[in-house]
Symmetry: C2
Subunit: 244 residues, 2 copies
């Protein structure tokens, strides 16, 4: 099992937008590069503008995409219009891959984006031909599932302030303190199961507590990362609870 990438490594790889899929080193390196080369060959680069809908919920899934530049949102709607941002897609992320033939959510461009597009038959054929590629995507899916489950905890049991703190931490590339959010408050709210007003209120609260700084609405500086982490799991209350 040591061959499997750890969560940290995978996340880092995604954020840096690596071109090569991280395959298990068990198989010879030559074959992994051949997969990458083949992926490149069957894919075509496409560009979309901000707010463009790339896939509509219920659409027949024709393509698999990989994000190269920009950010997208996967959204689901209830009949009365309530909206949920299932996930944000950043460089390195794939979408359009599913066991179903119909798109489970709408995909929209948050900013101008460039994607690599693969036709599903070609993509499927690649998986068929290269077991390591299949294994790689299996790992990707595991990682994705893990992220979704983390968010179940967030949505099910965290307060607004905790959700926001967690969100800022996961969005901030490790190391750098500054953070440019590509999405607006409405997207953040629907991602965290809150309203825009609540998001705004608690952001200003964090600012007043000197934990973050808002240079512009979307440019956030994490002044005290450790405080954020502590707030994101309500550690003050937890320490009281464990004292007896």
């Amino acid at each position: 099992m040591t061959a499997l990438a750890t969560r940290q490594i995978s996340t880092a790889a995604r954020i840096q937008g690596t071109q090569l899929p991280r395959l298990r080193p068990v198989t010879p390196t030559a074959s992994t590069t051949s997969v990458a080369a083949e992926l490149e060959q069957i894919g075509s680069t496409v560009r979309y503008h901000r707010d463009k809908t790339i896939v509509e919920e219920g659409d027949r899934l024709i393509h698999v995409f990989k994000v190269t530049e920009g950010a997208l949102r996967a959204i689901r709607l209830l009949p009365d219009g309530r909206r949920c941002v299932t996930r944000f897609l950043l460089p390195g992320d794939f979408f359009g891959f599913s066991d179903d033939t119909e798109a489970p959510h709408t995909i929209e461009a948050v900013s101008d984006v460039t994607l690599v597009r693969y036709t599903r038959p070609a993509f499927e054929a690649l998986l068929e031909r290269h077991p390591q590629a299949c294994r790689h995507f299996l790992n990707l899916m595991c990682h994705e599932l893990s992220a979704a489950q983390e968010r179940l905890l967030l949505l099910g049991r965290k307060s607004a302030l905790e959700r926001l703190s967690s969100f800022l931490l996961t969005m901030a590339p490790k190391g750098s303190a500054a953070l440019m959010l590509p999405m607006n408050r409405s997207d953040v709210a629907d991602y965290l199961g809150l309203t825009v007003e609540t998001v705004s209120r608690f952001l200003t609260q964090l600012r007043n507590r000197r934990v973050i700084d808002l240079r512009t609405a979307n440019e956030i500086v994490l002044c005290d990362r450790e405080a954020l982490r502590s707030i994101s799991e309500n550690e003050i209350a937890a320490s009281h609870a464990t004292r007896h």
Copy 2:
């Protein structure tokens, strides 16, 4: 893409607890049965009693399991003790498979359970040897991810009543009106991001509205499935909203 199982089919397969993985018909049937036979060979049957912890969060993942009988819960905790039931595991479901080497959540037996246990090296080797098996689990993970994302919508945007209605519908095997919940109110509450009191209150509300009947606390009859479905998405309000 027609070769991929639809969501409906996969769910049905899981509920019936099929032994054979559903593989893409693209590969010869002979080889699929050989995979199933091999899975059987490397697995050993184990039994646990109600409330037994099978995997602890943070443990090194040594085994992959498949549920044969009974129900389990996957739970995650916050430092102050708040609990979230990430998912319930029913016959046919797998767990213990991850891209990480450490368990992302604790797994506990909701009822007495029987599992098939595979060592991870053996399981990995099988994936290595049989590309179709890998492809099959990739589909499984897709399906799982899809279910998790459905729950993100539920936790992020649905009211208590809607959550409960959705829950009852997904727990009820299609066709049969009666439903025996293996888990208690506390598990349901942590699964739906509510408190036991709220779960109880809205169950009685549904009973008073003659939508369900509570024979015992855990034996629920869905009297009006259509009403439940409508309540689960707040269709009354939605129809008003679309009128203008």
